[in-house]
């Protein structure tokens, strides 16, 4: 058994490592070495810690907004798929508005627009929320959450509508209450249907996170801008930044793919 597996692996490796690929990999390695030796990297030790903090902030924003956004997307999808008109129409309008306007504009609307409105009201300035409302990150998190919810809500609508009627009818015939049907039958099946899109949406969300740098949240993108301003280097920080984002994307796709593979893929 083990021998067979090794033979298959070797066959796969030799299929992948065709002669032209070896040449391409060598060229790529040469480019990397050229970049490492001929470009300036002496600023790295100085900004290393700052970059780690920025990276942590980016990942944190990504995790929080994806989770909250998905939790918001479930009722949005449900309202559109099965809700009465007075629930379905606002949910649809929300998704249309979010998907129809640029995220940067939404972000600036919340930060500059709402942010300029709040200080006018004394009761907001005296409330416990004020220390948070004065900072930039709540607006960034809010905008990214709403954006994720808008895009994923549309996906969840399709997922809820795609669950076969027979399943729900069978559940009703068993005398399950509506809440129980949702919890045991409808939501799990809709979730499995939406799962393949979730990887793509998460990667898209990762690619949206640098926008929060424009409202002065110090994420990894903002750190690279800072390095560029203070060292007058154009390419090195940007290239490293692109590499970091590619690495995160790769890890995300790999990890979510693993999770996806564990979910039973037979959809009834």
């Amino acid at each position: 058994m083990a021998g067979e597996a090794i033979i298959i692996n070797v066959a796969r490796a030799s299929l992948w490592l065709q002669p032209h690929r070896i040449v391409l990999v060598l060229i790529a390695l040469a480019l990397v070495f050229a970049a490492a030796f001929f470009m300036r990297w002496d600023w790295l030790p100085q900004y290393y810690e700052m970059a780690l903090v920025g990276l942590w902030r980016t990942l944190w924003i990504l995790a929080v907004t994806c989770t909250l956004g998905f939790l918001l997307a479930v009722p949005l999808g449900l309202a559109q798929a099965a809700g009465p008109f007075w629930l379905a129409a606002p949910a649809k309008a929300f998704c249309t508005v979010i998907r129809g306007t640029p995220l940067l504009l939404q972000l600036w609307l919340l930060y500059y627009g709402l942010g300029s409105l709040f200080p006018q009201y004394p009761w907001i300035r005296e409330s416990w929320m004020w220390p948070y409302l004065r900072q930039a990150w709540p607006y960034g998190v809010l905008a990214l959450t709403l954006s994720f919810a808008g895009y994923e809500g549309e996906v969840m609508r399709g997922a809820f509508a795609g669950v076969p009627k027979g399943q729900l009818e069978a559940a009703r015939a068993f005398g399950m209450s509506r809440w129980k049907i949702l919890r045991r039958i409808w939501l799990p099946q809709a979730f499995y249907r939406a799962l393949p899109t979730l990887t793509g949406e998460t990667v898209l969300q990762l690619k949206s996170t640098p926008l929060v740098a424009t409202i002065s949240v110090i994420d990894i993108f903002a750190v690279s801008s800072k390095v560029r301003q203070s060292t007058f280097l154009t390419y090195e920080p940007l290239l490293l930044l692109a590499l970091i984002y590619m690495a995160i994307t790769g890890i995300l796709v790999f990890a979510l793919g693993k999770i996806e593979a564990r979910i039973p893929n037979k959809i009834g």
């Binding site: 249309t96 129809g100 940067l104 504009l105 500059y112 627009g113 942010g115 154009t234 390419y235």
Partner: protein, 240 residues
């Protein structure tokens, strides 16, 4: 209310005219980038489907990298690298350095990004064409160019339109990112107007309405184009 109308009026005391100029620039860039992306996409899809192993691998690297790196980073990288590279080439060949206009740079950068996505869309659409149609065209002795023009492009269009429509909407929204590199389009115009008048909420909401209208009007037109491209085919509802 009167103040809002005054602020948004198209003549100088109001800033409506500024916003409209910004909208015009946004649409110009989006259209240019989408067109450039289509050209890259058709070439890329052909390369991925019919190219040699090296071309295929290089295209795979292109689409993977572009789709894995945030647009904002790509825009900055290509904007600086592109203008720098062209100027270095020009000085090396003995010409004067030139200033590349924001419009051209924006179109080139966003078009490069769009190209990666439309490569995948068009590749999938070409694969969805019944293979017999292409084989029949070959059997008639059509040259590759004629085959592309008469068979492949028209036949793949109905399959590509949903994806391409999505890309057009993404292009209109991605133009907003050019505000970060200081190109004067709708979002930057809005920010300037809001900064001067301090009426942030009014202007950002107005810009949101404009973007939304652009999306909705685009959807209407796309629906028409899709109807025309799918003529003679079963409607989407019956096909399901």
């Amino acid at each position: 209310m009167a103040r809002i109308i005054e602020l948004l009026s198209p003549t100088p005391p109001g800033w409506g005219g500024t916003l409209l100029v910004g909208l015009l620039h946004s649409v110009e860039i989006a259209a240019g980038a989408f067109g450039l992306g289509l050209v890259i996409g058709i070439c890329g899809a052909y390369g991925k489907l019919y190219g040699g192993p090296v071309v295929r691998d290089l295209l795979a690297v292109y689409t993977t990298i572009v789709r894995a790196v945030p647009e904002l980073v790509l825009i900055l990288l290509l904007y600086y690298a592109g203008t720098d590279l062209i100027n270095q080439l020009l000085t090396a060949m003995g010409y004067q350095r030139i200033d590349i206009s924001g419009l051209v740079a924006g179109i080139a950068v966003l078009g490069f990004v769009q190209g990666a996505y439309s490569t995948e869309v068009i590749r999938g659409a070409i694969l969805a064409i019944p293979q017999g149609q292409i084989e029949a065209a070959r059997a008639y002795g059509m040259s590759p160019g004629l085959l592309l023009r008469r068979i492949t492009l028209p036949a793949m269009l109905p399959f590509a339109i949903p994806g391409l429509a999505n890309l057009w909407l993404i292009a209109t929204k991605d133009t907003a990112l050019l505000a970060v590199v200081g190109f004067f389009e709708l979002t930057l115009a809005t920010r300037q107007a809001a900064g001067v008048t301090k009426a942030y909420l009014t202007f950002f909401l107005a810009a949101g309405v404009i973007y939304l209208l652009l999306t909705l009007v685009s959807n209407l037109i796309i629906g028409r184009i899709e109807l025309r491209a799918r003529r003679g085919m079963p409607s989407l509802k019956e096909a399901r």
